[in-house]
Structure formats: structure tokens, C-alpha cells
């Protein structure tokens, strides 16, 4: 998974993904401290991540491994919201 910060939402009325539920979030990739890289992607959010939160994104085929996205045209989903990251026993990120 990659880490990213939720920085916004992407709304689309005309799409053919027919995915029930969830919404598209604008994600800015970040490092383990939460510093963003100005490298963006759109990910489907099924865990109701809020703006500013650090999330884990699963990409490519794995993005279809949920009941909502099975066999759907999606290649990036939010699989979890990060609470804490520790490295060598030291907390480097805390929600």
C-alpha cells in the first residue's frame, strides 16, 4: 500500500463505473511523516476518510478485492485510515 493525505473530493455525475456507494477522494501521496509529495491520484473511499487524514491506498487489481468494487473499473481504493506509524520504536506519525 502507499500512504497519502486526503486533500479533497472529486465529483463526477457522468461515469460508467456503476459503483454503489463510496466517493472519490483526491489523495496527495506522502511519506511516513505525512509530508506530501505533490503527486496526486484519485481513489475510491469506502471507509469515509476525512479531509487531512493520512490513509493507505491499495492500487491495481487489489482495488477490486472488496464486495463493492468486485469486477468494477477501479484501480485505487482507500483501505484504511492511519492512526499511528512507529519506526524503530519511535512514533513518526500520530493522527
Amino acid at each position: 500500500m502507499i500512504l497519502g493525505i486526503v486533500t479533497g473530493t472529486v465529483t463526477s455525475s457522468s461515469n460508467n463505473t456503476d459503483i454503489r456507494g463510496g466517493r472519490y477522494l483526491l489523495i496527495n501521496k506522502c511519506n511516513k511523516q505525512g509530508e506530501t509529495k505533490n503527486d496526486f491520484l484519485v481513489a475510491l473511499d469506502l471507509v469515509s476518510a476525512g479531509n487531512g487524514e493520512m490513509v493507505m491506498i491499495a492500487q491495481s487489481t487489489s482495488a477490486r478485492e472488496t464486495p463493492t468494487t468486485r469486477n468494477k473499473a477501479v484501480d485505487a481504493i482507500v483501505v484504511g485510515i492511519v492512526d499511528v506509524i512507529d519506526e524503530n520504536g519511535k512514533v513518526v506519525y500520530k493522527k
Binding site: 479533497g8 457522468s14 479531509n51 473499473a73 484501480d75 485505487a76
Partner: protein, 97 residues
Amino acid sequence: MILARVKGTVVSSQKTAKMEGIKLLLLEKIDPVTMQGKNDFVVAMDGVGAGIDEVVFYVSGSGARMAETTKNLPTDATVTAIVDIIEQNGNIAYQKN
């Protein structure tokens, strides 16, 4: 999915059989902060009837074959949505007019 702007179309008469009848779009990846193009282009199959200069996002890899119009087609990039609004930290970065 990656945000991009439709810059044009790509026409090919000599191609594999399964590519027949599919519209190919020339997409330029965009930076959602500045909404400027990144001079990084890709050819994608059109899944939603996107028009020139419209902001879209596309699915890459095997997901590109999961759209209704591209089932089992030899594509690794399919436009699945025309973007209406990009909101960032509360303000509108882009709105389709």
C-alpha cells in the same frame, strides 16, 4: 485513478480486430493544484463519451477492461468518468462549466 484532460483523439485504421469501433482519446495528465498539464500523455479508450478539453479520470491496468464498453478489450487505460467538480480543502479547484 489519474486525473487528466482530453486533448484530442487518436485515429488508427490498421489495428487489432478487437480495437474496432472504439474511440481513442489523447489525454494529458494534469496537476489538480494548478490544473495545468504535465506534458505527460496517454492514449485511453473512451468509456463515457468525454469531449475535448474536458477533465476526466481514467483507470489503468486490468481495471481498464472492467468498464462496460471495454470488457475483454486490449486496453490498459480507460476513461471511466467525466469530472464535474474537484474540491480541495474546502475550495473549488475545478468546476465543469
